[in-house]
């Protein structure tokens, strides 16, 4: 159903982003794998995509820098001839209690997790408007809806992403560019491995389905939002959290 489409996935060298890149590739999509620091891991993801029979390129770029972002989008369009799907997944954490959170830790997370989504969305808009078709899928987080102690910066950024999703959806709807977000809950990745056992237990006790999610639980919903099966959905945030926040 997605055969021949072209996607750019930010932060695709590991975790949820990696799984999204592979899931799209399994469905016939050519994927540009963006990474910030993990070059070897990004190359490995691209190799896996090629093994699935799809084209892939690897692009190093900091999503918080406009020039790098523009260049990344240009490279993707040059490589694949179009850009049909953007997945804004790149994200970092700098957790600390409000009282102890340094200004630079707040700024760093906002820059990458919120401004990065803005810059990437802005950069692909021209191409998608010309195509009169496109899908933008933002990886937010359930904590952007519920709040979470120790993550003021991350929560503020993710709540911002949800608002940005709605605005972009309204601005671009007339040009058939659909913009949605997914809000993963507790998904086992490198990022959640950094949580303390206490944090993990506290989170798990709040999940009606009683277990953490897997990156595939997220990537399948992203694939749905990239496909024609979701033609009449825009501006939404889909919770993928085992029922944690309803």
């Amino acid at each position: 159903m997605l055969s021949g489409k072209a996607a750019l996935v930010t932060g695709a060298s590991r975790g949820i982003g990696r799984e999204i890149a592979l899931e799209l590739a399994r469905n016939g999509v050519n994927v540009a794998v963006n990474y910030s620091g993990s070059k070897e891991k990004a190359e490995a993801v691209a190799e896996e995509i090629r093994a699935l029979g799809q084209e892939s390129i690897v692009i190093q770029a900091n999503v918080a820098e406009e020039e790098s972002v523009k260049d990344m989008v240009k490279q993707t369009i040059e490589a694949f001839g179009s850009l049909d799907i953007l997945v804004n997944n790149a994200g970092i954490t700098r957790d600390n209690l409000l009282m102890r959170m340094k200004e630079e830790d707040f700024d760093a997370v906002i820059q990458t997790n919120l401004k990065g989504v803005f810059l990437c969305t802005k950069a692909v808009t021209r191409q998608m408007m010309k195509q009169k078709a496109g899908r933008i899928i933002n990886v937010a987080s359930i904590v952007g809806v519920s709040g979470n102690p120790g993550q003021a910066n991350y929560v503020a950024a993710k709540a911002g992403v949800i608002g940005l999703t709605k605005t972009a959806a309204k601005e671009l709807a007339a040009r058939n560019v659909l913009v949605n977000a997914v809000a993963p809950g507790f998904i086992t990745t490198d990022m959640t491995d950094e949580m303390t056992d206490e944090q993990k237990q506290a989170m798990q006790s709040m999940i009606p389905l009683g277990k953490p999610g897997k990156p595939e639980d997220v990537s399948r919903v992203v694939r749905f939002l990239a496909s024609e099966d979701s033609n009449y959905i825009t501006g939404q945030t889909i919770h993928i959290d085992g029922g944690m926040v309803m």
Partner: protein
Amino acid sequence: MADVFEQVKQIVIDRLDVDESKVTLEASFKEDLDADSLDVVELVMELEDQFDMEISDEDAEKIATVGDAVNYINSKQ
């Protein structure tokens, strides 16, 4: 000048689905031709393609009328 105007006029007619007689040099995209902000952005993108040029965001913001667009294109060619 006339040639650029004719080309711009044709693009405006196609894009905004307006009557040819309304597309004068003085016509404002938003006020006279019923374009919204996104229409104008798209129109500018179309002009970039047709005339093979890049129009910066700052310059694009100054293009309000058909004449503005024609003058801009002439000044860059």
